[in-house]
Symmetry: C2
Subunit: 425 residues, 2 copies
């Protein structure tokens, strides 16, 4: 955390009043907003932890401006963080736009010197995490995300590309390693020790302490850390939780790829699945006056399951048509190709479960908590919901090699609903 990072020459932190003149200088963007820059309105909309995000609105339209600060926004200068992350976010977005154009906002402009990117304003889209807390249903979410995952992961992997190409992508993102190191710390290490920003809900102190003394769990988390560090399979989004997805009833878009790196496919899928499970498990803790929380919970378990199923089907379909060197048709017949792809998907499934478990735990006893639980007003209920999630997460990590399919995950979530031994445990 005491590392120093170079900010680019000419970098300066923009203030809300700097935005209109800055953007007006770019002809395309000026035209898009229309009218005179003096008449534009700018508003900070940052709700994440990391960066400054603004909406700039003119008479003809609006756009979103995101600037990376040389530190973590919610913490401040005490936690320096490389501005170069915006370069990697833009590079990842550009590739996602090629591979899954329907599922990312359009990238309109980038300025690595200012640590800036400008993108399409997803008006009418809601951030999925908060919308799920409010009881919103996204009927297309699983299908769209399954497709997004399959396409971005397949087309940047050895199943589609030759080694010089995957090596070049990997090298192009290797400079984002400081963010990878931070991910490792906050996901796989921090929650299991005395990391400075860890936080635990009142009533769960003993449960958290028990997890920190749980050798089997820590060993599994360390194994997943090693998988995160060493399994170079595809270009990942790198932080694909429900807060990085914006959606409507018919559309689904992925934002915030600043953690992109070349890594294990299961990490992106596990992030999404784990966070959907958190949402499902948290539902009964929220106000049931306006919606049937038990039904929402069931539907979210189904969504988590469908994400995997859609991913796996779409990936297998792409692989069946692959002409790449890995599955050279002159050598492997149809049956062999299918078997090799199935072996691969089985191993991604295991990684996915392990990462889902690790991601769930880190959101409950680590540095960064989520609205799914934070918005449960009754602390005792919140703590109890969190304990349910922790029991599930632990089993995902420890039993990842034995869990046969997503149905078993659903059964496991339901079985653990009954397992609460209270805060004292």
């Amino acid at each position: 955390m005491t590392d120093e990072f170079e900010t680019p020459d000419g970098y300066r932190i923009l203030h809300v009043e700097d935005l209109a003149p800055q953007i007006a200088a770019i002809a395309d963007l000026r035209k898009r907003l229309g009218g005179a820059p003096e008449a534009w309105t700018a508003a900070e909309i940052s709700d994440g932890n990391m960066n400054a995000v603004y909406r700039l609105t003119g008479p003809s339209g609006s756009l979103i401006v995101k600037q990376a600060l040389p530190y973590i926004r919610v913490i401040g200068e005490g936690w320096p963080f490389p501005v170069s992350r915006i370069h990697f976010e833009a590079a990842a977005m550009a590739r996602q736009a090629e591979l899954a154009p329907a599922h990312v906002p359009a990238l309109l402009h980038r300025d690595d010197g200012l640590g800036l990117l400008v993108m399409e304003d997803l008006r009418g889209h809601a951030v999925v995490r908060q919308a799920l807390v409010a009881g919103t249903h996204f009927p297309r979410l699983a299908a769209h995300m399954g497709e997004f995952l399959a396409r971005t992961l397949f087309f940047t992997s050895d199943f589609h590309l030759a080694t010089p190409q995957t090596s070049a992508i990997e090298a192009a993102f290797s400079g984002n390693a400081h963010l990878c190191r931070t991910s490792e710390d906050v996901i796989f290490t921090g929650p299991y020790g005395e990391a400075p920003y860890n936080r635990v809900t009142r009533g769960n102190e003993a449960v958290a302490a028990a997890l920190r003394g749980d050798r089997d769990l820590k060993r599994a988390a360390c194994e997943m850390k090693l998988v995160y560090r060493t399994r170079s399979q595809a270009l990942l989004h790198g932080d694909l939780h429900t807060g990085s997805v914006m959606a409507t009833a018919t559309e689904t878009r992925v934002i915030d790829a600043e953690w992109a790196f070349f890594g294990p496919m299961g990490f992106d899928i596990g992030a999404l699945v784990g966070n959907l499970l958190l949402s499902a498990i948290s539902q009964p803790g929220h106000d049931g006056a306006r919606c049937d929380r038990a039904a929402l919970s069931d539907r979210l378990l189904q969504t988590a399951s469908d994400v995997w199923t859609h991913f796996a089907e779409c990936f297998a379909a792409l692989a069946a048509r692959a002409g790449g060197e890995l599955l050279a048709p002159a050598i492997y017949d149809e049956t062999s190709r299918r078997a090799i792809v199935a072996d691969h998907l089985r191993s991604v499934f295991e990684d996915m479960l392990g990462f889902a478990g690790a991601k769930m735990i880190r959101r409950i006893i680590g540095i960064s908590h989520v609205e799914d639980f934070e918005l449960i007003g009754d602390v005792a209920v919140r703590a109890e919901r969190e304990r349910h999630a922790l029991r599930v997460a632990r089993r995902l990590l420890l039993e990842r090699r034995d869990i046969a399919a997503m149905d078993a995950v659903r059964d496991l979530v339901r079985a653990e609903a009954a397992g609460d031994a209270g805060p004292g445990r």
Copy 2:
């Protein structure tokens, strides 16, 4: 094979008579050879496939000059190959020299523009592969190579380094991807199809055809290809067979790191172990007049086994003292750390067996054969020895997850000695 690679500006192929003037221009080297350059003798000693290698001798000493040609030496201009490989060889040698200085020749000079490196002349050292055919015993080989492997792999891995450091090494070697792709082709793909340079010993045509129709085997080889491509664990030598090791009774040095890349630890170990098994299995085919070939064979099985044991012990000892982020002592106690390292070594062991099997097969039915068998004059005997090796290799690939330890490998080699069904099979 039709790719074109840029040769560096000013690159030219040196001829044997160019060497003295070229080297005399470098003061240190001139001094090392002594006397007048006109009195130096230069001789080509290339016995490998890839590059031009020379010995330059003066009154005070000698040195070895290696130049990468813009093609594969034994094939010629029809197979272009990047001169940049010498850059990666020198970079890998430099790192090996830091980590295991006793086990590499000193790097005296490098000139990436000419695709040149100059190194210590290992006078008195023999290339291990040919020396084993001649019946030479290297009593220190296993201990030295176990240590070389443990130190070069551990200190370039996540067990010792933080993510930004491993990422930087990986990126620094990503430009060697064309060599990785060639390795994949000749090891994991070519032998199983109709690759143009494949060769099979007379009498083994049917056996080779059977392997090419063997779905289980091809699936396992493809799995290993995927492991080769995606498991980024450490900086590897990349071609660590017995022809890349030069030794005396007391010293052991590794040469020829041009295939270096950041990959699976098991690949380097498997290359060495697989080639030691080839040597062991080939022994009974060689002239037994001057040495007891059965005893040599047993001793080589022991050596293969000892390489693994020394590697694993040395790696575990280094890991026990590691202060890196992966095994953070504040989080994992002694027992947990040991368990995590043991899990890792188990997975490296499986990879090692799979790679050993793949490497054995490719030397028998692929493009590049080895003296262990080629020097067996009686073709029927050679074919029979090769069949033994193929049976062993197939089982290593298919049973890698079930083989408990190196003892079982030895048992398997012995059991398969009796399994010959003749050339017709």
